[in-house]
Amino acid sequence: MSAVSFLAIDPLLEGDFLWTPLLIVLVKVLVVFVVGLVATMLMVWFERKAIAGMQNRVGPNKAGPFGLLQTLADGIKLFFKEDLLPERADKFVFRLAPYLSFVPAFLAFAIIPLGGDFRDGNGGLVTWFGQTTRVQLADPPVGVLFALAISSIAVYGIMLAGWSSGSKYPLLGSVRASAQMVSYEASLGLSLAAVILVCGTLSTSGIVNAQSSLGSWNLVATGVVPFLIFLVSATAELNRPPFDLVEAEQELVGGFNTEYSSIRFALFFLAEFMNTITMSALIVTLFFGGPQPITIGGTSLDIPLVPNGLEGTVWLLLKVLVFLYIYVWFRGTLPRFRYDQLMDLGWKFLIPASLGWFMLLAGQRLADDREWDQWIVMPLSLAVITLAFAMMQLAFRASDRNREAEGVQF
């Protein structure tokens, strides 16, 4: 065992300590960080421009070509503003909270496969300067669980920001946030479990490698439902519209970040958009084959003029852009959920549905292993799940009746 091998399963880190791998890793860290920052900047611009288009406005168009530098201007403005520290704030936690929000946002980006050659069983390995490696910062053996762990840490930033402000509305915002994020974490994890079940591995590069053609993309292989659940849960986890109750301006002034100004506010802002990008990239990695090209029946689409080594990155970029647009689209079209609707959707629909679908997939695989007749197993498991669902609905109806009898009103 070399000293660093437990950090990631990457051929680069196997064997003796050498300077070239160390330099490659350092360059990777730098590139991932810079790409994250620049992508965030462009994402803010993209969101403002796209939403302006949807609302028949022009959007930012003064700073730089097409207003591209608007975010930079905003960032500089925030940087030079006065940094306010509320008198009733818990000083240490108030200063700590933005970093607890910002650091996880960038950490999660480390496990996304950003490119590489996944064709012909290459497994995404590329050779740089005589060293074989993957085009991703880290490929820990627990892969997607790392993403879950990071997203469960991200809640602290928002929660502590609201609490430490020592003010009423931020506290309400952060209490909402923590309840929402903890609730939706469950359905996020359960729909992720379906992907892990189908791919048989936790590592992100392994998951991408398993999706070598359009038919084996997890979107199809897991049967669409886990993807839909993941998309909804991810939106709730990101606190993006229509689940942005954390910063509902009409009810909470500005939400958890009301008391923040200057660079600390900028960090929250940055973290929010970085999280959106990371989550889109994670969705693409899990369900849409990541950097894999679109392959139908053995022939894969080839982007002209782009060398094969870079093609994976281009595919990833295209797919991620689709999801970034979908998130902006959500914001442009969907009204915000009410709090009880949010909780009902999470606990009474998404969690049971993802659990039921997971059981269905597991049953199907078990039948496959034992060579049972699928035509008997599948209808039978569907019948069991329908029965369970009906019983659950009956239970909900009974509890609703009890509540009405007790005179509880919503």
Partner: protein, 180 residues
Amino acid sequence: MDLFVFVCAAIMVLVGALGVVLRSNPVHAALSMILTLFGVAVLFVAREANFLAAVQVIVYAGAIVVLFLFVIMLLGVDRAEDLRAEPLGNIQRPLALVLGVGMFAVLAGAIVRSRESLRFRGEGVDTATLEDADGNIRQIARSIFGDYVVAFELTSVLLIVAVVGTVVLARRRKSERTPS
């Protein structure tokens, strides 16, 4: 390298543990607990138990301490407690001292005695390698869902019982309810 990681993680664990006991502000105590949990997770990773480390962070740091903080915030006990008032009564403090010292003695004795037997290692487990990244997880799954499945299921029943019990306790009975 191993020693360096161990020392860093051990410092995290100890500082966090002391923080939980010594900080008078409950939110700070909960934050110290997160530090401890992360230190333990780092120790797990250093022993190549990646799965345990991830689960440690997801379940304990990501869910349980969040619930602690949630309760602290909702109940509004987030102000530092007044330690001059004796909250524990007269007998509890000496009793706690005796129990604490006793516990410490038992643990220290156990560690000293087991120094000999620690040298004998059990059957090793396969850790993750380049060829088989999921070996570690597969072995955990085999023991949880294979060898010890009854114990595992019983534990989950225990949790369900605890949840149902809490709900029953938290619900007021119809007769106690004041008409609104």
